[in-house]
Symmetry: C2
Subunit: 210 residues, 2 copies
């Protein structure tokens, strides 16, 4: 068992990127790749690539590089991508609609099984085969559909009480699109999807480039 | 001038997070903060906080910590957040609609000045005071409205040709929501917003937690 407390968020993000790099190489029928090549594609150093992978075992062979299929398979195991994950979507506004149709989720094995919304006008709608349910039924439906991850796509003022509610239903992992900090117990994980952070990387670049 | 090639993407992401932490502390009338406190709020080490900041100068005083207002102001300067940025949005589907209404962009100074879409049914619409323009006019309008950043929110198959088009119009910074790798010259920056990467951090956590 990996000690996840020793693995930084940045390492996990980079593993996700290596996973995509390997997928692209495999699509091009590339069978082996060096840490240097993975590094170049991701604009980082090869030492970083080797360090990130070293937390999880020994994958390549010195001088021979990595087998793309094997390394992809290993990273899939590490990231938990060898199974599908049932996901619940809370809030069916603009972001909720966009997420339901976001093909990448399904491609990576994240399946939206149920939508929850407090608006009676939305409840009962079936979109892309997924039903919009009232919040009141959400605990029961989450259990029935074996939901493990909840996506929060509601206004900031409603986010914390909904997270508290789903924690009481046994959910331990949340992806939060509401631009607000959420408080959760230690055994629960929240990742915040703040779309302006990437824009700030662009403004940094535009401000500081020579 | 900072040598931006020496600054990692991870450092920039963390600066954005420190910026948010400082905003929240200032809202609570906190005047000084230690690297340790900033670290705890962001679940990282205080050495990491000090290292990230050290690239840009000396901000705190040993034993006294950082003045929250000054450090926030310094990070705002580093990230280029002391001015507003004019942004163009290409593609007005579900994600485009969600982004136009995403309050965080405006709050951080990213102002969507124009929308571009190839669908004649959408062209001419005015939403939240922003006009949907045809792609054909996008170079001219980008120059008129002094757009510096383009957000790509179109299907993957259309993304590269649109990026090429806007590069030819002089745009040097792109935020890409299309799940595809984009090729750009060295003096142009693309940041990819892949929303399933944060879900993978959750599946990693659920898979590996004790």
């Amino acid at each position: 068992m990996i000690d996840i407390n020793k693995i930084s968020d940045s390492t996990i993000r980079r593993l996700s990127k290596y996973y995509r790099t390997l997928n692209e190489l495999i699509e091009k029928n590339v069978e082996t790749v060096s840490s240097n090549e993975i590094a170049n594609i991701n604009s980082i150093t090869s030492a970083q690539v080797r360090k990130d992978l070293s937390f999880f075992g020994t994958f390549g062979r010195r001088g021979l590089g990595y087998n793309t299929f094997l390394l992809k398979d290993n990273i899939a195991t590490i990231l938990g991508l060898k199974k599908t994950w049932n996901v619940g979507l809370v809030g069916f506004g603009n972001i909720g609609h966009a997420l339901l149709q976001y093909q990448e989720f399904k491609k990576q094995g994240f399946i939206i099984k149920a939508i929850f919304d407090s608006d009676p006008a939305k409840v009962g709608q079936i979109i892309e085969g997924v039903v919009v349910n009232p919040i009141a039924d959400s605990c029961e439906i989450s259990k029935e559909t074996q939901i493990e991850i909840i996506i929060i796509a509601v206004p900031p003022k409603n986010a914390q009480s909904l997270v508290d509610h789903f924690i009481s239903c046994g959910i331990k992992a949340f992806l939060n699109f509401a631009p607000t900090s959420l408080k959760v117990p230690e055994n629960v994980l929240v990742k915040n999807e703040n779309m302006s952070i990437e824009l700030e990387a662009l403004s940094f670049f535009l401000t500081n480039k020579a």
